[in-house]
Symmetry: C2
C-alpha cells in the first residue's frame, strides 16, 4: 500500500522517498532490478520515487519532507515508532496505513489515541481509510478514500497533495472512527463472508443464497457503528467509506474473506489456519484477539449482546473458542 | 413475493387466502395443477393456503382477516385500491410489498403518504422492506426484513404473525423511509452495477476492479439517505435493512443490475431496452422517471448536485437523456 500511494503522489509531481523495512530488502532489490516496479503492483513507479532500504535512511531525508506515511504491518508499529523518534528532527504530520487496536489501561484504543503520546515529533496524526486495494490504486482505477485528522486543515493539506482524478479523497475530523473501522472491517468481513458459503442455492448466480449475506452485511455495518462509538469514534463514520465501503471491498476477496468462506463451510479456524491459510496473517483474527478483553470483559456489552452484537459474538466464538461459526438469525433484531 | 410470504405465515399456523389478479390466472391454474407450488418458487405452498382468482374474492373473505397484504406490481396499485375500497367492510391494517413513488402536488411522495387517504377502510399502512429475494424466503433461507408503520404496535402485531426462525423481522415507525428506500434502491442498483463492468481487471476474481464498486456502493447509500430525507423519511433508515441491505441484494442480480452492467459496458439504455431487456420492466427506470420532476426541477438539489448527488445525476442522465453512463469520480466528495 505504501508503494501504491506513491502513484497519486508522483502523478501530482511530488518526490517520494520509499523506505523498505528490514523485511523488504528483497522487494527493494527486485524493484531496482525491474526498473522500479513493485512485484505485487503491475505498474512501474515514477522516476520521482527513490526506493531505499531503511539502513540508508537518515534525519536529513525527513527534514524537508511535507509528510511521513507509515505503511508497516501492525506488528511493526513499535519498530516504526522507535525509528521515527530517532530520526525526526522537526515536527511533521504522520499518516498511517497501518491499522490495529491497542490495549490502553483496562480498555482498548485505536492508534489515533495511542500513537500521539509516543511520537514526540508528530505534528498531527492522520488515519487513512476507505476501500482501497493497493494494486488497483497503483493501476489508477477510480478509488475513494478518506483521511481522518483532528485538525481538519492538516487533513485537507495532505489530501491536496494526494488527490487526483482517480484517487478521490474525503476528509474527516474523526480519526478515531477511521482507525476503529479500518481494524473492525477485517473482523466483520469474516462473518459476512461466512454467509457467502453457508447457504448454497444451485439456482442462484454464484451458487449461493443472497438474502443471508445481505442481512449479515447490514448487521455488520450496524455492529461496526456501535463498536466504533465504544472505541471513541463517531458511529456515522461506519456508514461511510471507512466503514461499509472498506467492508464491501474486504468481503470481495482476501484472507479475511477466505477464512470466512471456510467457516461458512463448517470448517474450524484451527483446521483453516493449519491448512489453506497456513503461515498467513489474517488481520481480522488479530482484531478478534484484541477485542476480546473489551467485549468479553464488558458487562454492559454482554448484556446487550443478543440485541446489539449477535454477529460480533458469533465471530468471536468461532475464532477464540474454536467453535463452528453459528450466526443464529433468530438473534438478529436490527433497526 | 406475495406467495413467498405465505411460507412464514403458514409455518406459524395461519390460514392464508392467496388472491391472483386478472394477470395471474395462468399462475393460479398452474399452482392448482402442480399441487400448490408457484412456478417461480421451488417450494409447494402449505395446505393452509387457498389460491383463488380475484373474481372469486368477496367481502366475506376480508371480514375475518387479521391483515391484508398487497403484492401487485406498481402499475396495478390503483386497481388494488379500487378493489379494496369495494370489498373491505371493516377496518384492517394493510401491508404493501408494492413499491413506488407517486406525484403529490408539485412534489413526490411515497405510498405511505399517498395511499392512506385513498383507502377508506385501511386501519394502518405498513411498508415491507429489506433484502428479500422471494424464492429464497420461500425456501426458508435466513432472511431479514423490516416492517414500517407509524403505529409501532400495529407493526409489531403483524411482525408477530410472520416472524419465524428464518424470517427475521425488525420494526420501525419510519414507514415513509422504508417506502422511499424500497423504491430508490432499484435506481441506485443501476449505478452501482455499472461500476461492476466499467473497469475490467483480468487479475481480479470476477475480472473486475473492486475499488470503484465499493466507492459507488458507499456513495449510493449516502445519496439514498439524502433523498430518503427529502421524501420525508429518516436518513438512518437508508443505513439499515431497507436501504443498504436491500441495495446489496439488488446489486447482486436482477433486471436493474443487468441494465447497470450494460451501461457500464457503454451501451445506452435505448440499446439495452430494445435488445437484452426487451419487454421487461426495470423498476429503477420507473423510479428515475418519477424522480425527474423532484430532482431536475428542484433548484436546491441541483445546486448541491456535484457534492451531494453525483451518482443520482449520472444515473438520471443515462436513463432520461439516453446518454452514456458517466460517473465522474472527480465529483465524489463524500463524508
Amino acid at each position: 500500500m505504501g508503494t501504491a500511494l506513491t502513484v497519486p503522489a508522483t502523478d501530482n509531481g511530488h518526490n517520494v522517498l520509499l523506505v523498505g523495512t528490514p523485511l523488504d530488502r528483497k522487494v527493494i532489490a527486485e524493484m531496482h532490478r525491474r526498473g522500479g516496479s513493485h512485484p505485487k503492483l503491475d505498474e512501474p513507479c515514477s522516476r520521482l520515487v527513490t526506493a531505499i532500504p531503511v539502513d540508508d535512511l537518515g534525519s536529513e531525508h525527513l527534514e524537508g519532507a511535507d509528510i511521513v506515511i507509515v505503511g508497516v504491518s501492525s506488528p511493526g508499529i513499535g519498530w516504526a515508532v522507535d525509528l521515527l523518534n530517532n530520526l525526526m528532527v522537526n515536527r511533521l504530520p504522520v499518516a498511517f496505513v497501518t491499522k490495529g487496536l491497542a490495549v490502553r489501561g483496562k480498555g482498548l484504543a485505536t492508534y489515533a489515541e495511542t500513537l500521539p503520546p509516543q511520537l514526540r515529533q508528530m505534528y498531527a496524526f492522520i488515519g487513512i481509510g476507505g476501500p482501497c486495494i493497493a494494486r488497483e490504486l497503483a493501476n489508477r482505477q477510480p478509488t475513494a478514500s478518506i483521511y481522518g485528522c483532528k485538525d481538519l486543515q492538516v487533513a485537507e493539506r495532505f489530501a491536496a497533495l494526494m488527490r487526483t482524478d482517480y484517487y478521490r479523497l474525503s476528509i474527516t475530523t474523526d480519526d478515531t472512527g477511521v482507525e476503529a473501522c479500518a481494524a473492525l472491517k477485517n473482523f466483520f468481513a469474516i462473518g459476512v463472508s461466512a454467509m457467502q458459503t453457508r447457504y448454497p442455492d444451485k439456482k442462484r448466480g454464484g451458487g449461493q443464497s443472497k438474502n443471508p449475506t445481505a442481512a449479515a452485511f447490514t448487521q455488520a455495518t450496524l455492529e461496526m457503528a456501535r463498536l466504533c462509538e465504544r472505541l471513541g469514534g463517531h458511529p456515522a463514520t461506519a456508514f461511510g467509506l471507512a466503514g461499509l465501503g472498506d467492508l464491501h471491498v474486504t468481503v470481495g476477496g482476501g484472507r479475511n474473506s477466505r477464512l470466512g468462506h471456510g467457516l461458512g463451510r463448517n470448517q474450524t479456524i484451527m483446521d483453516l489456519m493449519s491448512n489453506e491459510l497456513a503461515g498467513e496473517t489474517v488481520e481480522g483474527v488479530d482484531t478478534a484477539r484484541a477485542l476480546a478483553p473489551m467485549i468479553l470483559g464488558n458487562a454492559a456489552i454482554k448484556m446487550e449482546s443478543d440485541d446489539y452484537f449477535p454477529l460480533t459474538f458469533a465471530i468471536m466464538d468461532s475464532i477464540l473458542e474454536q467453535k463452528s461459526f453459528v450466526l443464529d438469525f433468530a438473534n438478529l433484531i436490527v433497526r
